[in-house]
Symmetry: D2
Subunit: 132 residues, 4 copies
């Protein structure tokens, strides 16, 4: 099974990813792309996308990138996330990549864009993924 197909199956098997509506656009050696359509229930009280939605999308993007190189049985050890701008677009796009991988640990980076409609960078992340 190719990475793209595997990624789609894992994402489909995650109730929370389905609940939010995450889609895997691509997965390969070069990294992962996830998309998330913004629904009215994703906002916070000031009319922009809630940071928790962005954090959840970053978590998935980073973990999937780690799974590309470490295999599907991974867990997210930790990640750090900077919020760069409020997200107001109709869709969020996450791109992540593996920066370095050993046998048990991978270091990953991720970016989240808000399509307004041109993609604007709204969050930047860096994390560590471990093979279970």
């Amino acid at each position: 099974m190719d990475l793209n197909q595997l990624g789609k199956e894992v994402l489909k098997a995650q109730p929370f990813s389905q609940y939010l509506g995450m889609e895997l656009l691509s997965a390969g050696e070069e990294g992962v792309e996830l998309a998330l359509k913004v629904r009215p229930e994703f906002y916070q009280h000031l009319g922009v996308v809630h940071g928790g939605v962005i954090a959840a999308l970053m978590d998935n993007a980073l973990t999937f990138a780690g799974g590309l190189v470490l295999g599907p049985e991974v867990l997210t050890v930790e990640f750090k996330l900077n919020f760069l701008r409020p997200a107001k677009g109709e869709r969020l796009l996450a791109r992540s990549k593996v920066v370095q991988a050993g046998k048990r640990l991978a270091v990953v980076q991720g970016e989240i864009y808000s399509e307004e409609p041109e993609p604007r960078l709204v969050a930047l992340g860096q994390g560590t993924i471990a093979k279970v």
Copy 2:
């Protein structure tokens, strides 16, 4: 209006917090406590709570703690989160506190517990909140 009441109103005004079902248990000088009942749609594919749920709860716990000292108009600059154990309980409990606050920035810490039914620490976070 007291901090507790204000916190409840902000939480109620956040569609995403309502969508997940977050509850403010307490808010005061000593910090914030949020609770989140785990629903079937919150799991990932291995049968434990999805990291994205925990990240979203941490985001809210840290931001609310910052809002206690900086006022309600705050944004989360960044946070970092370690996942300590899989969360399997029926409810998540988040506790956060302000470690240091200036006029414009506050540094906050947060812990998330899974009630199994005794509370087990499942995530640890540290972040920076800014007055808008």
Copy 3:
């Protein structure tokens, strides 16, 4: 050999820790305490201790805390550090502790105080240590 003695020997065997003048005050199940006398060469251009000195001390405090529970052959996977206030005192004091430890990974927290002469918290850290 007790943890205190072991910690002192590792610290003595680290040329960089000796170069800066780090001292291990205590090491035990409850965590680690390191001290660093501030010398004129530790400042930055605005007359306070350089962030790099604080980062180096945090790195050591976190790694030593991890070594308490994982054994002496550890490496620092990552850490995050907030600078809370400028440090102007004559000595820095670092306190770190293990928050959670598994077989291969430990999550640690650290605080750095500047003695002015009362200890003021100047930095807060959170990191991940791995058994080699």
Copy 4:
């Protein structure tokens, strides 16, 4: 005064940067490059460069990148750093860049390479810089 010249003067005015021997190779809109020759006193007990040296270099690289866009009066709010591989080369090279900048805050990324003699990526960082 151009950014390159300004950066060199700030670096020269920092006793700790001089103590370690940091050099500014370039500073401009595209980011900052710093170099640090590895001296015997920079090692830890296992014969590789101490994490504290790498953390100090990362701190400077990130802060200088923030200073490019926010002006020379900046402070490092926080940063996060992953150690990717042991550094064994004769010189460390740090490259940092601004990912996003507002009026008061900039988000920066940095990489540290060990010249062995080909540059190998040994650390990855992400941080937040504020105008004082």
